[in-house]
Amino acid sequence: MKTFVIGLGNPILGDDGVGWSVADQIAKRTMDRPDIEVDCVSLGGLSLMERLTGATRVILIDAIFTGRAPIGTVSQITMGDLPDLTTGHSASIHDTSLHNALSVGRSMDIPLPEDEQVIIVAIEAENVYDFSEQLSPAVANAVPEAVALVMELLGS
């Protein structure tokens, strides 16, 4: 049983880096947990699917831009609720969506988690179009809540 915690995003694109910020904190808090692997990547579609090889459970942390929730809102969603193209990275429209990529991988007998074992912790973002290493204040303030949610999911 191996759980991957994956921070998704671009660390130099403003709030898009929030997934990395949260994952960094998780890495520090789970150093004594050999069953947990933490990483920060800027991947989507097939590349993200390939990165998930070998996981039985996955927690993806990503910025989300729905425009329907206050900036900094932390939500927990599943693959089933994943709105098309609204998360910055789980859906790479350059190749294919994560849904499709996971189906491709499974048809190749690549060991991948079931859809219900893929949990997405999403943080509503404000700025994902301006280059910056800073998070918006409301998004930065949401990091502890997102960290707590991921730790709870990890049973810590």
Binding site: I12, G44, E50, L85, I93, H94, D95, T96, N100, Y129
Partner: protein
């Protein structure tokens, strides 16, 4: 007036939007292709040590970080006036060849290929890589995944990291490879050659042998007579990593060949009121609008452009395919945009052959992979061919090597004008009297999907509003209404 919007464009990097305006008769009046743009990259870079640029720029784009890493590395070499030793150049090109093979594979099987393999009229849900696997067989999926794995592995061995390499520094690389690694890389490259041949055979069997598809490729719908650009080596053969920029005219004759440092004397950028992204064009021909022909400075940079702008491929198997390509399509240059997909597969084969050539080069394991810079840094230009087109990085620094100014012309930006023209032409041909169905709309998308655009990295420093702006125009072009999305 009726308006049709294709949004979001499926399977395209960057959330683009196409607006098609119909006239009273229901025919296409005009089309606009607009995309949100990332902003402030120059401002972000100013004040940083220039040697950080290969690490920073590979975060610009999620699709081709390796291309930005290489263009940046070359620009930084130029800033420091340092010549990379042969082994350093070869290692970078080896990494780059493996990246190319991976990227072209992904495009063909996941993005461009499904349109042909499934057919342009197939349901959207089937026109993707999973549909391809269902139709062609599981074996093909396994090969695609294997090709990607090998490519990523080579990038990791030489570049230190998968997808986002980090080993290029001024004057070369931080590390070389040993014999054991070389053997592994060579073995994977030999497999890649077989895979590229398999892919070309699949293209031949599925696309070229199907008269409907061949007619679509050679037909007029996706044809434009423009200039073509690509990097070439000393023998005018296609090169992805190094060489001079060569431009051929619509008649195929060389128009200009220049050193990367001279790009600004040859390329200018046109501004349109309806988009924040600029349209690069050949400065000395001039901007005449979105039109074909030798008097229009519009040029294209894609796999097809590189083939058109060269005198051939530097490896034997790819050269044979190059000759077959032009023999089948009626000689040089080829103007039909859907032939870009075929050209991409020929480049896949070249990349795989070059991979093996470099992996078997006696110098490749030499420890002489870096020269230490000694000159005072000033400014420098680096150009590589990104899979989507010629990629230019230009940096200026102070005497300490701290960045003072940055200019980038990314692969896709070069093609903004031709893509806009192709969308218009496809829409003109395929939408008549208000008759639009999903198959027709997808064929409009096919027009520019061939270019493999990813506007996510089309960066220029632009303060102000969010770049998505929709202008509704009357049939005679007068603005009727301006809609701005996400603006403050």
């Amino acid at each position: 007036m009726q308006r049709i919007t294709i949004d979001p464009i499926t399977r395209l990097e960057g959330h683009g939007k196409i607006e098609i305006f119909l006239n009273e008769e229901g025919n296409v009046a005009n089309t606009y292709f607009q995309i949100p743009e990332l902003r402030g990259f120059e401002r972000f870079c100013v004040g940083r040590p220039v040697e950080e640029m290969p690490l920073l720029t590979n975060r610009i784009c999620g699709v081709c970080p390796e291309a930005h890493h290489m263009a940046a590395a070359k620009a930084v070499d130029a800033v420091y006036h340092v010549e990379v030793p042969p082994t350093g150049k070869k290692l970078r090109e080896l990494l780059y060849s493996a990246f190319y093979a991976t990227d072209h594979t992904t495009h063909f099987y996941a993005l461009g290929g499904p349109d042909f393999i499934m057919g342009p009229d197939a349901p959207v849900a089937e026109r993707n890589i999973l549909g391809v696997i269902h139709k062609v067989g599981l074996e093909i999926g396994g090969k695609v995944i294997q090709m990607r794995k090998y490519g990523h592995t080579v990038v990791e061995i030489i570049g230190g990291r998968r997808v986002h390499p980090c080993t290029s520094i001024p004057g070369g690389l931080t590390k070389g490879i040993n014999e054991e690694q070389r053997v592994e890389i060579e073995k994977m490259g030999r497999w890649a050659i077989e895979f590229a041949q398999f892919s070309l055979k699949a293209f031949n069997d599925i696309v070229l042998s199907n008269k409907t598809y061949l007619d679509l490729i050679v037909g007029d719908i996706y044809t434009h007579h423009t200039y073509y650009m690509g990097l070439v080596d000393a023998n005018n053969k296609v090169n992805f990593y190094d060489g001079k920029v060569r431009v051929v005219a619509p008649d195929g004759k060389e128009y200009v060949k220049y050193e990367p440092k001279d790009y600004a004397a040859n390329i200018a950028e046109h501004v349109e009121p309806w988009t924040y992204l600029k349209f690069p064009y050949l400065k000395n021909v001039g901007w005449k609008g979105f039109v074909d022909g030798p008097d229009s400075g519009v040029y294209m940079t894609t796999p097809l452009s590189r083939l058109n702008a060269s005198d051939g491929m530097a490896t034997p198997l790819a050269q044979a395919e190059y000759e077959k390509f032009y023999a089948t399509l009626g000689g040089k240059p080829v103007h039909q945009r859907l032939a870009i997909h075929w050209a991409r597969l020929i480049e896949l084969l070249y990349a795989a052959e070059r991979w093996v050539e470099l992996a078997t080069d006696p110098e490749i394991t030499s420890p002489d992979f870096r020269a230490i810079p000694t000159a005072t840094p000033t400014e420098g230009v680096g150009i590589v061919e990104a899979p989507r087109g010629t990629l230019t990085h230009h940096y200026w620094t102070d005497e300490r090597g701290v960045v003072t100014k940055v200019n980038l012309i990314v692969g896709t930006t070069n093609n903004y004008a031709p893509i806009t023209m192709s969308i218009k032409k496809a829409a003109d041909s395929l939408i008549k009297k208000g008759n639009v169905n999903e198959g027709l709309l997808n064929m409009v998308e096919m027009a520019f999907r061939a270019y493999d655009p990813c506007f996510g990295c089309a960066t220029h420093s632009l303060p102000g509003q969010m770049p998505l702006e929709i202008t509704v125009r009357t049939p005679d072009g007068e603005p009727l209404q301006v809609l701005r999305q996400f603006c403050e």
